[in-house]
Amino acid sequence: MGIDVSSIKADFPIFDRQINGKPIVYLDSGATSQKPNAVLDAMDNYYRNHSASVNRGAYTLAAEANDLVDEARQLVADFIGAPNTHEVIFTKNATEAANLFAHSWGRSNLSQGDVVVITEMEHHANIVPWHMLVESNGIELRWIPITDSGELDLSELDVLLDGAKLVSVTAMSNVLGTMNPIRRIADAAHAAGAIMMTDGSQYVPHVPTNVTEMGVDAMIFTGHKMLGPTGVGVFWGTTELLEAMPPFLGGGDMIMQVTKEGFTTNALPHKFEAGTPMVAEIIGLGAAIKYLNNIGMEQVREHEVALTAYALRSLNERFGDDITIHGPSEPASRGGALSMAYKEVHPHDLSQVLDQANVCVRAGHHCAKPLMQVMGVNSTARASLYIYNDEADIDALADALESADDIFGMGF
């Protein structure tokens, strides 16, 4: 049984909205997803009925708030197959999670000449923190190249891994949709004596995830791309790794003892969660996971493979050489991020034209400038899919693309 998109859409209040009398065709879930009532209600319920600070009070309200956060942490841990709940560290977003790791583990474990290996298809969140360590600690940054079809070229992996202390690779490209062989790279990294992190920001929302099966030591991802609110992300690390890492931010909640002379750190996960956390957002993320679990992540993935297949087939049939869709052509080996070039129309102009039909796509470099340089473009227009999209949305995209010809037709 596939997903019933119309009943899913009914759970998302934004789709009740019309702009200029027309419904919204939302194809930008790679940037951020829409939110179902279940998430909005859970956050509202916290503020209305259980609002209290966590980890501090002994009274009933505070205990309820604590329970809600604990439940959400358990939901996250189960969702990604984490062996221990205390390994789930809440951060502001994936970017902060990457910075937590680079700052805490990176600064204390990496020195002059140590090698960090990333790939040409990383998001800036998994690039710039390492660039910062090049500056502060003198590390060397190496790049796994990509092939013309937008997959990782692993032919020189052994050479690249020589001397590596960390390998950090996105599980799914936000531009190309490519799904990378994380297990294979993690095994090679470990054999070379390095630890392995993956960026799950585009993967966790769309594919059943198990960090143990992936063989990684750490993973980052972000709540707002998986039906959750903005303002909450996750750093997951193995207990062994987290125990060995120094704290990141200092302050309340992360301490066991504070004296005039110094401090000792709290137990996991609190060691890495300084200050009052984003309680409502954590609860919202928990509700998003419950919602996804109700559908079933296998179903989510199945739906997106089918819809991606439809999009690739119908757009290529309709536009032939006038359209280029970047990334792998086999739907089963990619996600639903479809970066495209249509004729010679600049992506920025294209998205403006699509907006006339309320078709929301993202134009730009997608925070992946090194990838843009490798691809030889300075931006793309990207449509990205999720559970509330269906074939009608793809057809609306295709119709809107054609309308660009009215303006940019001749000579382009």
Binding site: I19, D349, V353, Q356, K369, N378, S379, I407, F408
Partner: protein, 176 residues
């Protein structure tokens, strides 16, 4: 919702398809680069400045129709002009591109139709800009550039239109 015909005027598309003064200039012309971090558009300005005049100008870079046509029109408008004239023209252009009460283009285009109408009214009434009186006669010295006026109705695109101008200002600062 404003129509695309307000944005993609024929003259804009013409400058986009056939950019004027495209190319490079060797030193002593100065070279400055501008980036729009939002969308990746880039503009390169080569300006040869002698005796406080732009004696020659060439434009490079790549980007959308708005950023590239604005650059092309700008290059025509400023070539041969004194730096004072260029500064004044830049002020007028930016005034034409600004929404009252906002120093810069807003990040999101959530402006209501009413706001945009107010912006248009204010712009033609001459109190739009931060440079006093700059917008009083927007069409006089603007020439082709006034075709870009419609961009204000699409606030996210304002940054595209002013990118080349800011890059030129940098070149002028460097030279003086």
């Amino acid at each position: 919702m404003p129509g695309l015909e307000d944005l993609y005027k024929e003259i804009i598309l013409d400058h986009y398809r056939n950019p004027r003064n495209r190319g490079e200039l060797p030193p002593p012309a100065c070279k400055t680069e501008g980036f729009n971090p939002l969308c990746g558009d880039e503009i390169v300005v080569y300006a040869h400045i002698v005796d406080d005049h732009i004696v020659d100008i060439k434009m490079g870079g790549q980007g959308c129709s708005i950023s590239q046509s604005s650059a092309s029109m700008m290059s025509q408008a400023v070539k041969g002009k004194s730096l004072d004239e260029v500064r004044k023209l830049t002020g007028e252009f930016k005034a034409m591109m600004s929404i009252p009460g906002k120093d810069d283009a807003p990040a999101a285009s959530e402006s209501s139709a009413a706001e945009i109408e107010a912006a248009k009214a204010a712009a033609s009434a001459g109190d739009a800009g931060n440079i006093a009186g700059a917008a009083e006669k927007p069409d006089l010295s603007m020439g082709d550039l006034s075709a870009l006026k419609g961009v204000v109705k699409f606030p996210v695109r304002i940054k595209c239109a002013v990118l080349s101008w800011n890059t030129l200002l940098e070149a002028i600062e460097q030279a003086s």
